[in-house]
C-alpha cells in the first residue's frame, strides 16, 4: 500500500513540475504561423514547378494566403483543386485560359540534314555549345531531348525523328522546356492559337531547303493570302498577329513546304494542300559540309 502511495506521490509531483514547466515554456516560446498555409500547401500539387512565378508550392501557398496571388495561377492543379482552394480561402479563382508549350520546328531527322557529326555529352544544351550542334539548320531542333528530360509532367516525348511532341492534355505551361531549349524553339501559347509557324529558319529561298525540307523559304505567300495583315514577314519569317482574327486556315494553303500549319487536337499539325508531302521514314543523309 505504502509503495503505491509513494509511486503515486512521486509520479504526481513529477508530472506537476514538468507540466508547469511546459506550460510556461509554451507561453514564452510560442511561434505563430498561419495554419492555413499548411492546408493550402497540402492542396497544391507540390511539384514545385514554378509555373506560378513562385519558387515552390510553399511560397505560392504563402502568397495565396496573404492574398498576393490567385489560385488560377497554378496551372498544374486540376480545376477542382483550384476551385477548392479558392473556396477555402474565400477568394476569386482568377482563371486563365489554358496555355501549352508549342514547338516551332518540324525538322526531324527525316527532313533535316546534319552538317557535322557531334560527339560529346548527349544533351541539346551541350551540343549547342559545340559550333551550334551538328544540325545543318542553325535554328532547328537538335533532338537530344533536353525538353523531354526536364518536363516533370511527362508531357513531352521524342518521336521517331528525334523531335519533341507535346501532349496538350498533360502540358501545364510551366515553362521548363522554354527555358531549357538552347535554340529557343518552345513558347507558351493559349490552346486556341491554332495557326502556327512551324519554323525558325531565318534563311531565304531555295538554299534553305538544302538544310531542311520543311523550312520556311520566306516566299511570303501566307502573308499575302491572309486578310487584314494577320501575318507579316519579319526577318524572313511569317509572324502571326494573334490579337487579330486568327481562326482561319487560308494562310496555310499555299505554303510550299508546310512551314505554316494548322494545329488540330486530334490530327496534329495540318499542312496546306500545296505543300510537298515528304514520306521518308529513314534518316536524311548527312550531306557535304
Amino acid at each position: 500500500m505504502m509503495t503505491i502511495l509513494i509511486a503515486l506521490a512521486a509520479l504526481g509531483c513529477l508530472t506537476l513540475v514538468l507540466a508547469i514547466l511546459l506550460i510556461a515554456a509554451n507561453k514564452k516560446l510560442h511561434v505563430v504561423e498561419d495554419p492555413r498555409i499548411d492546408t493550402v500547401e497540402a492542396m497544391l500539387p507540390s511539384v514545385n514547378c514554378g509555373a506560378c512565378g513562385y519558387p515552390g508550392c510553399r511560397q505560392f501557398a504563402e502568397a495565396l494566403v496573404a492574398g498576393k496571388a490567385l489560385p488560377g495561377k497554378c496551372s498544374v492543379s486540376t480545376d477542382e483543386t483550384r476551385v477548392a482552394i479558392a473556396r477555402f480561402l474565400g477568394v476569386a479563382l482568377g482563371a486563365e485560359e489554358k496555355r501549352v508549350a508549342r514547338l516551332a520546328c518540324a525538322g526531324g531527322t527525316n527532313v533535316a540534314r546534319n552538317r557535322a557529326r557531334y560527339h560529346g555529352v548527349k544533351s541539346c544544351q551541350a551540343a549547342s555549345l559545340v559550333s551550334g550542334g551538328g544540325k545543318a539548320c542553325f535554328w532547328g531542333c537538335l533532338g537530344y531531348g533536353d525538353c523531354e528530360a526536364v518536363c516533370d509532367f511527362d508531357a513531352i516525348t521524342m518521336n521517331a525523328f528525334a523531335l519533341p511532341v507535346v501532349d496538350v492534355d498533360k502540358c501545364t505551361a510551366c515553362g521548363d522546356c522554354v527555358e531549357v531549349c538552347p535554340k529557343d524553339l518552345f513558347s507558351l501559347h493559349p490552346v486556341s492559337h491554332r495557326l502556327w509557324v512551324n519554323c525558325k529558319n531565318l534563311g531565304q529561298g531555295e538554299a534553305v531547303l538544302e538544310e531542311c525540307q520543311v523550312a520556311c523559304t520566306a516566299c511570303g505567300k501566307c502573308a499575302m493570302d491572309a486578310a487584314d495583315n494577320l501575318i507579316t514577314m519579319v526577318n524572313n519569317l511569317p509572324v502571326v498577329n494573334y490579337s487579330k482574327n486568327h481562326h482561319t486556315r487560308i494562310p496555310i494553303q499555299r505554303c510550299p513546304t508546310g512551314a505554316i500549319v494548322w494545329l488540330d487536337d486530334q490530327l496534329g499539325a495540318i499542312k496546306g494542300t500545296e505543300s510537298k508531302k515528304i514520306v521518308r521514314k529513314g534518316q536524311r543523309r548527312a550531306g557535304i559540309t
Partner: protein
C-alpha cells in the same frame, strides 16, 4: 575530304592517351612479383587461394553486371586487382570456399552495392577481408608456415574443406581454443610476428621481415617486393606517393618515439614498419584512389590518420594488428578530408591576397624613388596607406576602386579573356 561530314566535339581535341584500364593493368603488373613470391613461399595452397579469390571476384563482377543489364566491366581489370589483393591478405591455408565467399563479398558488397568502379567508398578487398575476419575468426588467424618442404607437392589440410564446413586443423599451428578466442577479432593480418610480439613479446629480425622469411598472410610477408611494386607504380605516375610515404613515416616516427622511451611493450620502429600488413596496406590498399582524398594535402592528412590509427591499435588496442581497420576508417573519413582540405582557388581573395595586391601596387610605384637593386624589399602588408606617384600618402577604400572598375567594364569579366590563353 572537303566533301566529308566533319566531326565536332568540345575542346580539348587531344588527350594524354592514358585510360584507367592502363592504370589498373599496371597495378596488376606491380602485384605480380609479390604474388610470385607468395606462391614460392607458401606453395600450392597459396596458388589455389589466389586463383580462387581472383576468379570469384571476376565472376561476381560479371554476373552482377549481367543481372543489372549493364555491360560487363570485367575488362577494366579492377575486379582482378580486388581479387588478387584479397587473396594476398588472406592466410595461405584458408579453406578455398571461404576465399570464394570473400571474393563474392568484396565485389558485391564492397563495390557493386555502391555503384561499381569509381563509387566504392571503401577498398573492396578490405571489405571482403573484414567480413571474412569477423565471420571466421578462427580460420582467419590460423597461420600456415612458410617454406615447408612439401609445399609444392601437398596442399594445406584446410584448403579443400567442404563448403560451409569447419576447416580441419592440421596440428601445425597449435591454435588452441584459448588463442583462438584471444585472437577472435584479429586485425588485418595478425601475422605471426606481430601476434608473437603482442602476446609473448617475441621480436623478429628486421631482415627476416623485409625478406619475407616469416609466416603471415599470403602476400604481405616480403616487404622488399611490395616496395618494388610500389616504386614501379610511383615511377609511372600511377600511384599517389604521398599516401604510402605519409603512412609509413607516421608509423615510423610515432613508434620510434615510443621505442625511445625504452618500455618493453613498445617494439622498434623497423619492426613496426616491416611486420604485418602495413607495407601491403600502405602501398596497395590505402592508395586506392576512390577511397582516398583527392588533393595532395588531403592525401598527407589521410596518410597521417591511417598511420596514427595503426600505431594506436597495434600498441594499445586489444588486437595485434590494425592496418585493415585503419584503412577502412581512413576511407570513411576521406569525404570529410576532401571537404576540409580544398586548395585555395586562384584569385579568391583571402585577406592576405587582397593586401598583397595592394602592397604590390605600392611597391612598384615606389621603385623609381628607392630602387633596391637587389630586389629584396620587405613587402609591407598594411592595407590602409600607400604612396602615390607624387609621394602623397593616400587612403583608398577598396570598394571605391572596385566599383569604378566595374562600371567601365560592363559585361566583361575576367573570364571573357579566357581565349587569351593561346596568345
Amino acid at each position: 575530304m572537303l566533301n566529308k561530314t566533319l566531326n565536332i566535339a568540345a575542346s580539348p581535341h587531344i588527350t594524354r592517351g592514358i585510360s584507367i584500364v592502363d592504370i589498373m593493368r599496371n597495378v596488376v603488373w606491380a602485384l605480380l612479383p609479390v604474388t610470385a613470391f607468395a606462391v614460392y613461399a607458401f606453395g600450392l595452397g597459396a596458388l589455389m587461394l589466389l586463383i580462387t579469390t581472383t576468379f570469384s571476384a571476376v565472376l561476381t563482377e560479371h554476373v552482377l553486371c549481367r543481372i543489372n543489364r549493364k555491360e560487363s566491366t570485367v575488362s577494366d581489370w579492377s575486379a582482378v586487382i580486388t581479387g588478387l589483393l584479397l587473396g594476398l591478405t588472406l592466410p595461405p591455408g584458408l579453406p578455398l570456399w571461404m576465399a570464394f565467399v570473400g571474393g563474392v563479398i568484396s565485389i558485391a558488397l564492397g563495390k557493386f552495392a555502391f555503384g561499381g568502379l569509381g563509387y566504392n567508398a571503401f577498398n573492396p578487398a578490405l571489405v571482403g577481408r573484414a567480413v571474412l575476419q569477423a565471420a571466421f575468426p578462427a580460420a582467419m588467424t590460423t597461420w600456415h608456415p612458410a617454406f615447408l618442404s612439401d609445399r609444392f607437392s601437398a596442399f594445406p589440410a584446410a584448403t579443400f574443406t567442404l563448403p560451409f564446413m569447419e576447416p580441419a586443423t592440421d596440428g601445425l599451428t597449435g591454435a588452441t581454443p584459448l588463442t583462438v578466442l584471444s585472437l577472435a577479432t584479429d586485425g588485418f593480418t595478425g601475422a605471426t610476428p606481430l601476434a608473437a610480439f603482442k602476446f609473448e613479446r617475441i621480436t623478429t629480425e628486421t631482415a627476416d621481415l623485409a625478406l619475407g622469411l616469416i609466416s603471415g598472410s599470403t602476400g604481405e610477408t616480403c616487404a622488399i617486393l611490395i616496395i618494388l611494386g610500389g616504386i614501379y607504380l610511383i615511377a609511372r605516375n600511377m600511384m599517389n606517393w604521398r599516401i604510402p610515404v605519409s603512412i609509413l613515416s607516421t608509423v615510423f616516427v610515432l613508434s620510434g618515439i615510443f621505442y625511445l622511451t625504452d618500455n618493453p611493450i613498445y617494439p622498434s620502429p623497423f619492426f613496426m614498419l616491416f611486420s604485418g600488413g602495413l607495407m601491403l596496406g600502405a602501398l596497395f590498399m590505402a592508395t586506392d584512389t576512390v577511397g582516398s582524398p583527392i588533393t595532395p594535402a588531403g592525401a598527407w592528412l589521410y596518410g597521417v590518420i591511417i598511420g596514427l590509427l595503426v600505431v594506436v591499435i597495434r600498441l594499445w588496442g586489444g588486437l595485434p594488428e590494425g592496418v585493415m581497420y585503419a584503412i577502412l576508417l581512413g576511407n570513411a573519413l576521406s569525404p570529410h578530408i576532401d571537404n576540409l582540405i580544398r586548395p585555395r582557388v586562384y584569385g579568391t581573395t583571402t585577406r592576405e591576397n587582397s593586401h598583397a595586391s595592394k602592397a604590390f601596387i605600392r611597391t612598384i610605384r615606389q621603385q623609381p624613388e628607392n630602387a633596391p637593386g637587389d630586389g629584396q624589399h620587405r613587402v609591407d602588408l598594411r592595407p590602409d596607406h600607400r604612396t602615390d606617384l607624387s609621394g602623397h600618402t593616400v587612403t583608398d577604400s577598396p570598394a571605391q576602386g572596385r566599383s569604378a572598375g566595374e562600371s567601365d567594364f560592363q559585361g566583361h569579366s575576367g573570364n571573357d579573356h579566357k581565349k587569351d590563353i593561346s596568345d
